[in-house]
C-alpha cells in the first residue's frame, strides 16, 4: 500500500454562508434563485460613494461559529481589502479579514475507526461573497448575476492536519453538524452555502512539503473524496517517477472524476491587501461573547448520550439521530409523546431511508411529526399492518398526503368487513371445514385473510367477531 510509505497532508478552507436575512454590508435580502440582479443596491454593486455597514447578526454568527470550534476570539479585529479584477466582484476588491481575523486557534475533534483526532483550526474570519457568473457555451460572453455579491460568509481554515480522505470526510461532516447545531449556517451544499477549497500534498519523509495542490470551490462531499483520491494518487505517481511537484491550483471535473490544472497567472496571487478604509476595527464586547456562549446549544455528543439515558434507545441509534440537529429535535418531540424505542426504530429504519431515497431535507419530517406519532401508535395498536404503515409514511413524507385522508380513502373503499368476511369464507372451504370439524383455531387463519384483504385497515378483533358470527350461522 502506498499509504504506508507516504504521508498525506490535507487542509480545508471552508466558506460557510451565514444565516442572515440581509447581506454583510447592505440591506439587500439574501436569497436563492431570485430574478438576476434584483437583490442588489448601490453598496453591493460597488457604486462609487456607497459605504458598507456591517451586519450585527453576521458578526454574532461568526462569534458563535468560533465558540463552537473552541476558538479564541479577537476582541478587536479588522477588515481588509483583497484586490483583484474579476466580473463577479463589482468593487474590484473583496472585503475580508487578513492579518487580524475574528478568531484563531480552534479545534474540531474527529473520530475515524474509533481513534479521536484533533484538527487544528487556524483562523475564522468574516468576508463577503462574490456574485455568480454563467459562461456561454457558444459565444464569447459571460452572464453576471450579483444577487450573491455581499452575502456574508465565514471562512474556516484548518492546519494541514488531516491525513486521509476518510479523516477529511469526518472533518467536513463534523463541521457541518456543529454549524447546523448552532444555526450558524444551513450548510446546504447544493445551494453553495458550504464550499471548500481543499489543499493536499503528499510527502515521503512525513514532513509538510513545499508543493501543494489546491482544489478550488468544491461543494459536494462525494466529489471532495473523489478529488482527494485522484490527487493523492497523482502526486504519488509523480513522486515515484521523480517529477518535481509545485504549488498549483486545480478544478475538479465531475464527469471524468479527475482534477485539472487551472490556468494560473502569476499576478493572480498578488492581492495587495490593505486595511479597509471604510470600516473601523471591529470590537466584539466580552459581554456579547458571554451572552452567545451562554446560549450555545446542546452539542451532538451530549445530546446523543442524553437520548440513551433519557429515552433508552441504543447508542448506535442515538448517534445517528443526534448527528442532525433538526432530526434530533423532531425525534425528541415524538419520543415525548409515544414509546421512544418504537419512534427511534421507525426514524432510523424508515424515515431516514425515505429521506435518503427521495433526497429530502430533514425538515420534511418536521412537517409530519405529529401524524408520524399517530401512525406509529396505530401500527403498535395493530390498527395498521407493517406494509400499510410504511406505505402511509412514504405518502405522507414524500407526497405530502395527510394521514387522515389516507385513512379515509382506505376505510371508505374497502372496509366493508361483512362483505370481506363472506368473501374469505367462500374462498377458503378447507378452513371452514376444519372449523366445523372442531378446529376453532382455523378462525385465526381466516382473520388473517380478512386483514390482508382489508389492507391492514380492519380491527382484527372485530374481524374475528364477524367471522365467528357468520360461521356460527352456517
Amino acid at each position: 500500500m502506498h499509504n504506508t510509505r507516504y504521508t498525506i497532508h490535507i487542509g480545508f478552507e471552508t466558506h460557510l454562508q451565514l444565516k442572515t436575512d440581509s447581506k454583510m454590508f447592505c440591506h439587500c435580502k439574501v436569497t436563492f434563485l431570485e430574478r438576476p440582479n434584483s437583490m442588489t443596491c448601490p453598496v453591493c454593486l460597488g457604486m462609487p460613494g456607497s459605504l458598507p455597514a456591517l451586519n450585527r447578526k453576521a458578526v454574532e454568527l461568526g462569534v458563535k461559529a468560533a465558540l463552537l470550534l473552541g476558538a479564541r476570539i479577537n476582541l478587536r479585529s479588522k477588515f481588509d481589502r483583497k484586490n483583484y479584477f474579476y466580473p463577479d466582484l463589482p468593487k474590484n476588491y473583496q472585503i475580508t479579514q487578513y492579518d487580524i481575523p475574528l478568531a484563531t486557534e480552534g479545534i474540531v475533534e474527529i473520530k475515524t475507526n474509533d481513534v479521536v483526532k484533533k484538527v487544528f483550526i487556524q483562523r475564522i474570519h468574516l468576508e463577503e461573497d462574490a456574485g455568480k457568473l454563467m459562461h456561454s457555451e457558444t459565444q464569447n460572453k459571460s452572464f453576471v448575476d450579483l444577487n450573491r455579491a455581499g452575502v456574508p460568509l465565514a471562512e474556516i481554515v484548518t492546519a494541514p492536519d488531516i491525513s486521509s480522505a476518510d479523516e477529511a470526510m469526518e472533518y467536513l461532516k463534523r463541521l457541518k453538524v456543529l454549524m447546523r447545531y448552532g444555526d450558524v449556517s444551513n450548510c446546504d451544499m447544493e445551494k453553495g452555502e458550504f464550499r471548500c477549497d481543499v489543499n493536499v500534498s503528499v510527502s515521503k519523509d512525513g514532513k509538510l512539503p513545499e508543493h501543494k495542490s489546491e482544489i478550488k470551490n468544491m461543494n459536494s462531499f462525494r466529489f471532495i473524496k473523489q478529488a482527494l483520491a485522484y490527487e493523492i494518487s497523482r502526486q504519488i505517481k509523480a513522486i515515484e517517477s521523480g517529477e518535481v511537484l509545485t504549488k498549483k491550483t486545480f478544478g475538479f471535473d465531475v464527469e471524468k472524476g479527475a482534477t485539472f490544472e487551472m490556468r494560473s497567472k502569476e499576478e493572480a496571487m498578488d492581492y495587495r491587501y490593505f486595511p479597509e478604509p471604510d470600516l473601523s476595527p471591529l470590537i466584539v464586547e466580552t459581554e456579547v461573547i458571554d451572552k452567545i456562549r451562554q446560549n450555545l446549544p446542546e452539542l451532538p455528543d451530549s445530546r446523543a448520550l442524553r437520548f440513551v439515558s433519557e429515552y433508552g434507545i441504543s447508542k448506535y441509534q442515538s448517534e445517528i439521530i443526534a448527528d442532525d440537529v433538526v432530526l434530533s429535535e423532531d425525534f425528541e418531540y415524538c419520543a415525548k409523546r409515544y414509546n421512544p424505542i418504537n419512534i427511534a426504530n421507525w426514524v432510523i429504519n424508515d424515515v431516514l431511508r425515505l429521506l435518503e431515497e427521495f433526497k429530502l431535507d430533514t425538515s420534511s419530517f418536521s412537517k409530519i411529526r405529529d401524524k408520524f406519532v399517530e401512525l406509529v401508535r396505530m401500527f403498535n395498536d395493530k390498527k395498521l399492518t407493517n406494509t400499510v404503515a410504511k406505505e402511509f409514511l412514504q405518502k405522507m413524507l414524500v407526497n405530502g398526503e395527510t394521514l387522515d385522508s389516507l385513512l379515509k380513502s382506505v376505510s371508505s373503499e374497502s372496509i366493508d368487513l361483512d362483505k370481506i368476511a363472506n368473501e374469505v369464507i367462500n374462498e377458503n372451504p378447507k378452513a371452514i371445514a376444519d372449523y366445523k370439524g372442531g378446529k376453532t383455531s382455523s378462525i385465526k387463519f381466516l382473520t388473517g385473510q380478512v386483514m390482508k384483504k382489508a389492507k391492514g385497515m380492519a380491527d382484527p378483533n372485530k374481524a374475528n367477531e364477524i367471522l365467528e358470527k357468520i360461521l356460527k350461522g352456517l
Binding site: N37, A58, K78, V144
Partner: protein, 97 residues
C-alpha cells in the same frame, strides 16, 4: 529603497489594469520611483514598540441590525451597463480553465 525594474512597473500597472506605452513608461518610471522613495522615509523610523495603527479614530465600528429590504433593483442595476441581456450584465467570457 531599491530601484524598480520596468518589469515590476509593468506588473504593478497590470494589477491595476493600467496600460502604458514605452514613452509614458520612460517618463513615469522616475516619478514612480520618487514617490516610493518619499514614502520609504517612514521605514527609517523605529516602530518596534508601537502598536500597529490601522485606524485614526476611537469610535468603535457601528453595527447595522439584520433587517432586509427587497429593492427589486434589477432594472436599475443593469440600466447603465455597457452590455446587458435581460437582467444580466454581460462581460467577455471569463473562465479559469
Amino acid at each position: 529603497m531599491k530601484n524598480l525594474t520596468p518589469d515590476e512597473i509593468h506588473h504593478i500597472a497590470n494589477l491595476a489594469r493600467l496600460r502604458f506605452d514605452q514613452n509614458k513608461l520612460t517618463k513615469f518610471s522616475p516619478e514612480f520611483q520618487k514617490i516610493l522613495n518619499y514614502i520609504a522615509k517612514l521605514q527609517e523610523l523605529n516602530v518596534d514598540k508601537v502598536e500597529p495603527y490601522v485606524w485614526p479614530l476611537e469610535d468603535p465600528l457601528k453595527l447595522r441590525e439584520d433587517v432586509s429590504q427587497k429593492l427589486n433593483y434589477a432594472a436599475d442595476a443593469v440600466k447603465n451597463a455597457p452590455v446587458k441581456e435581460g437582467d444580466y450584465f454581460i462581460v467577455p467570457r471569463v473562465i479559469n480553465e
